[in-house]
């Protein structure tokens, strides 16, 4: 079952714990091999280093991203000043204005919107799957969640543009491109992420606490609300942080339904430009400082998503320590 998880991030910490449990194996063999033959020992050591190198490819990847995206974007920070770049509110590259504060704010707004709509839906589904659903119902709902995760983002954007937008436009007497539309589309996109991990978190709670709660006469909901959710708190927060990362990094769906106006919107129905949309719209033709600024935006986005991961690992370690 765990092999089916699409974004199994939260297991990172359980894996560390599992690794610690199986350590005795690692320590046993290299020493014994010296008794067999030096050749075999060398071969085994070489293989082990090869595998270590493979594992370090991941680290190399992150470093390379910093190197190639960061270095390409660095000149704009040097030229305009990192502070001015981050806090300037005017984004008019053709005239030399490189302030990205508006777009960063919009990206966070959009992420918040997605969380507002997506978290209740995802958590409700997750709790339903782990506490309420019978095996037969579960066999329908769980695959549905996983399938939602597999739909490409272009199709979400497409659907948002062709179906959702006219609906919202008619209802709100506007173009239908804006914060509400984007939030709804992104909410659906992050539901599988949050739901899958939250459900795993709840399922891994020991059955004993449920039994104890029911034994004291609590209803299902009381058990869920007062016992299970607080107990699974860390796993759920993990899930939500991952959803946040997904929402803030989404490009194609956003550029199709957000309206992409480089201003901070006053209402739910006004067009707004996020960091990801800004990069994808200008990248095709930008040159010189403009292109450098786009790489600068990209590295900022990378740092934001990496800090989400760091927050997640920090939380896992704190949570693990509490147990």
């Amino acid at each position: 079952m765990s092999a089916e998880r699409k974004t199994p991030q939260a297991a990172g910490d359980t894996q560390d714990r599992a690794a610690a449990a199986s350590e005795p194996d690692a320590a046993r063999d290299p020493g014994d091999l010296r008794l067999i033959s030096r050749a075999t020992y060398l071969k085994e050591k070489a293989l082990q280093n090869l595998f270590l190198a493979c594992a370090f490819v991941a680290v190399a990847g992150v470093l390379l991203i910093f190197l190639f995206v960061g270095l390409r974007g660095w000149p704009i920070f040097a030229k305009v000043g990192l502070w001015r770049f981050l806090t300037g509110t005017r984004w008019l590259p053709s005239q030399g204005f490189f302030g990205v504060a508006t777009m960063i704010a919009n990206s966070f707004l959009v992420m918040l919107g997605a969380l507002v709509f997506g978290t209740p839906l995802a958590l409700g589904t997750a709790v339903f799957l782990s506490e309420v659903a019978s095996p037969r119902v579960r066999a329908v709902v769980r695959p549905a969640v996983e399938l939602l995760a597999g739909i490409p983002s272009v199709i979400y954007g497409f659907f948002g543009l062709i179906v959702l937008r006219p609906f919202i436009a008619a209802w709100s007497n506007s173009l239908g491109l804006g914060l509400l539309t984007v939030s709804l589309v992104l909410a659906v996109m992050i539901v599988p992420t949050i739901a899958a991990i939250s459900e795993d978190a709840m399922r891994s709670l020991s059955p004993g606490i449920r039994e104890a709660s029911y034994a004291m006469g609590a209803t299902t909901w009381q058990t869920i609300w007062r016992v299970l959710l607080p107990a699974a708190k860390i796993g759920i927060i993990d899930a939500v942080i991952l959803g946040m990362g997904r929402a803030i990094g989404e490009t194609m769906a956003v550029v199709m339904v957000a309206g992409n106006a480089p201003v901070v919107p006053h209402s739910l129905f006004q067009p707004l430009l996020t960091v990801t949309a800004a990069i994808v719209m200008d990248m095709s033709y930008a040159s010189g400082d403009h292109r450098t600024a786009l790489f600068g935006l990209a590295i900022i986005l990378f740092v934001i998503s990496m800090s989400f991961v760091a927050a997640l690992r920090l939380l896992s370690r704190i949570g693990g320590g509490e147990e």
């Binding site: 006219p166 436009a169 173009l175 199709m256 992409n260 200008d282």
Partner: protein
């Protein structure tokens, strides 16, 4: 069970070897005489692609790779040498004049200002259009329509259509920053078709029955009014090369200028052939 892992690994090694061989067997450099890279305007993309197909059929062994991300990208690519032909639906900016690009016009096009078919407004003056897109007029009742706020739809900055519209109508003044910016003709058309209050602009060749093209200064856009210049928002579609076109690029451009393409493909796309302009 014993051999399953090793069979899998041998298969993997074989496939990897195949991949390496495939890479080794093909080099990049030999194709310049028979390969042509054409990139630029999304407006010109459909006719460039069709012409490319027909050209490849008429000249077997050649490969014409057409892509379209925006006129500015096309100009950028051809001046840097990463493309042989850059297509542009806008004229070169003064800053681009010194790049050594030679322009071969291949067709004429009009930019239509489109509204929703349910909008009672049928025509506007160029001053009104300018005020609308600069953000000074914001409600339809100010131009004789219903009392509803305008839904302004703009194109992305990579678009030659946007640049051409900006030069021809706004005379270089900035667009309303609160306007929605959509990255594609189809999106503009789709949003305008589905929203009563929307107004946007697209190439005349892309107008379909789901939107209505307004009359500008009393003149309806059509191939006739574009050809004789009566419709005020007309533009040239360019093929740009670094220096005068030579070799395969020249053959391709001549092919696009040939009567076969001009009367069939370009007219099919809703544009006006070069010969058709009365000026």
């Amino acid at each position: 069970m014993r051999d399953r892992g090793s069979v899998f690994r041998r298969l993997l090694a074989a496939l990897a070897a195949l991949a390496v061989l495939a890479t080794a067997g093909c080099s990049r450099g030999d194709a310049s005489a028979t390969r042509l890279a054409v990139t630029g305007s999304t407006t010109i993309l459909p006719i460039a692609e069709v012409s490319a197909e027909m050209f490849q059929k008429a000249h077997p062994g050649t490969r014409v790779l057409v892509s379209g991300v925006g006129s500015s990208a096309g100009i950028e690519s051809v001046s840097q040498g990463s493309a042989d032909i850059g297509t542009s639906s806008r004229d070169l900016k003064p800053a681009e004049a010194g790049l050594g690009l030679v322009d071969t016009p291949i067709a004429y096009d009009a930019i239509a200002v489109i509204v929703n078919p349910g909008n009672p407004v049928r025509g506007l003056t160029t001053e009104q259009i300018r005020d609308i897109f600069e953000g000074r007029i914001t409600n339809w009742k100010q131009v004789g329509g219903l009392d509803m706020p305008m839904g302004l739809v703009n194109r992305d900055e990579a678009s030659g259509t946007r640049e051409a519209f900006s030069n021809l109508v706004l005379k270089g003044k900035p667009f309303d920053p609160q306007a929605a910016v959509l990255p594609g003709t189809g999106q503009v058309r789709s949003v305008v078709a589905g929203t009563r209050s929307a107004i946007g602009y697209i190439s005349y060749g892309f107008v379909t029955s789901e939107v209505r093209a307004l009359a500008v200064d009393g003149v309806e856009p059509s191939p006739a009014t574009t050809a004789d210049g009566k419709y005020p928002i007309g533009r040239v579609l360019h093929f740009l090369t670094k220096g005068a076109p030579t070799g395969l690029a020249k053959e391709y451009i001549d092919f696009v200028l040939s009567p076969a393409i001009q009367t069939k493909v370009i007219a099919d796309a809703g544009f006006i052939g070069i010969a058709g302009k009365a000026r």
